[in-house]
Symmetry: C2
């Protein structure tokens, strides 16, 4: 028991669970993990861990993510707390859900394998334990909200990418098609992207220019990208 001056005792275990999004081969993907402890041992679960004594829940989430992907710099945002008394049959466990965006091309593949975790397309997920489905749903909602008001992709796509790739990412997130012309105009009007001189010829004979994010330009744009709801 940790010391405190309140006349209270600890009754809840505290965990974090991470909804880890990645993007590969035109699909939004989720990193899952084969649970190694009872209950529900061997079933697929979100990547999670206990919160230590001397760290914030954010610290814990970063630590857990580093442990499984080898990445230190990644986007992380709190989703919400899940605290139904019976959510975990193993005890009274409170879990803080986070969602993370990671670039699959940067991750440590060995580490992922060693941790018996793997990527699943968001449309072909296995059954998840406990209330992890609900966590995913909330995280997706938050991701959509974020993507609708700012240009995401920096955290998910490779350093250099085409507008087509970006558009497909948005299609994956919102589960709908975007008009190629209008999408391009909208994106370019933000002034966030910089065109490079190189082209990707894998998709067409003409070739599509590669783009990158300009440095530190996230703050100059404030309009919406997609209107949804």
């Amino acid at each position: 028991m940790v010391q405190n001056i309140y006349n209270q005792s600890c009754t809840h275990l505290l965990a974090v669970d991470c909804i880890i999004f990645g993007y590969l081969q035109d699909e939004l993907k989720l990193l899952l993990f084969k649970r190694r402890i009872e209950p529900a041992k061997g079933q697929w679960s979100l990547v999670g861990g206990w919160v230590q004594d001397n760290e914030s829940v954010e610290d814990a989430a970063y630590r857990v993510l580093y442990g499984i992907t080898g990445l230190k710099d990644l986007f992380l945002e709190q989703v919400q707390v899940f605290s139904e008394p019976d959510r975990d049959p193993g005890g009274r466990v409170l879990s803080v859900a986070f969602y993370a965006l990671i670039r699959i091309d940067k991750q440590d593949e060995e580490l992922i394998k060693k941790n018996s975790s793997s990527w699943f397309a968001i449309s072909k997920l296995p059954k998840l334990i406990f209330d992890h489905d609900k966590m995913l749903e909330k995280a997706l909602e938050k991701l959509r909200k974020k993507a609708s008001i700012e240009l995401i992709g920096r955290q998910l796509l490779p350093e250099e990418f085409t507008i087509l790739q970006l558009r497909k990412l948005y299609s994956a997130i919102f589960q709908r098609e975007f008009d190629p012309g209008n999408f391009r105009k909208k994106i370019m009007s933000t002034g966030i992207l910089k065109r490079l001189d190189t082209k990707d010829k894998s998709m067409s004979k003409k070739g599509a220019y590669y783009y990158t994010y300009k440095d530190r330009s996230e703050d100059l744009f404030t309009d919406h990208i997609v209107r949804y709801l």
Copy 2:
């Protein structure tokens, strides 16, 4: 110590803190509470309490709110967890912040007094303890987001109100003026409000019609109210 099958011990106390918004006399207000325990005894704090063993954090927030306002039906939404290890000098306390919208005309004034709590205009707040300022800031952000995509007011204004009152509420929330004509048109276009036959003559000689929310109409409207950011 609560029983669990994990090889873990409890190290965090768990609390909820509520950012309680109300609206009175053209001002957005916050219900604060004079802290009765050390540390920071006697200072102003958000309304909070411990999470019991057998309840979710939402349950705890409702219980705390009922205890201080006497109200059972009120709007409540989770903001986020605050968990910096040193946020509370009294011990390792994790707090889940919620914001609530309540109708000041419905509250139990006696109870509020008895609890040594009182309403403060959002623009004239006293210094708050710990990280409660940060909690308020995040809650306000969430409230603005909510108000920008749906018509709030049902939870804050009296049963019958004028468009002017609603506009002033929005002005208070967003800290800016809205064009009276355009605001009215926008609001009326939602079809959520119903005009009554009575008028409020306190503000003008002509008198302004009272309006109420139609029953169960929150779901039919999906557009934005205010564009912000």
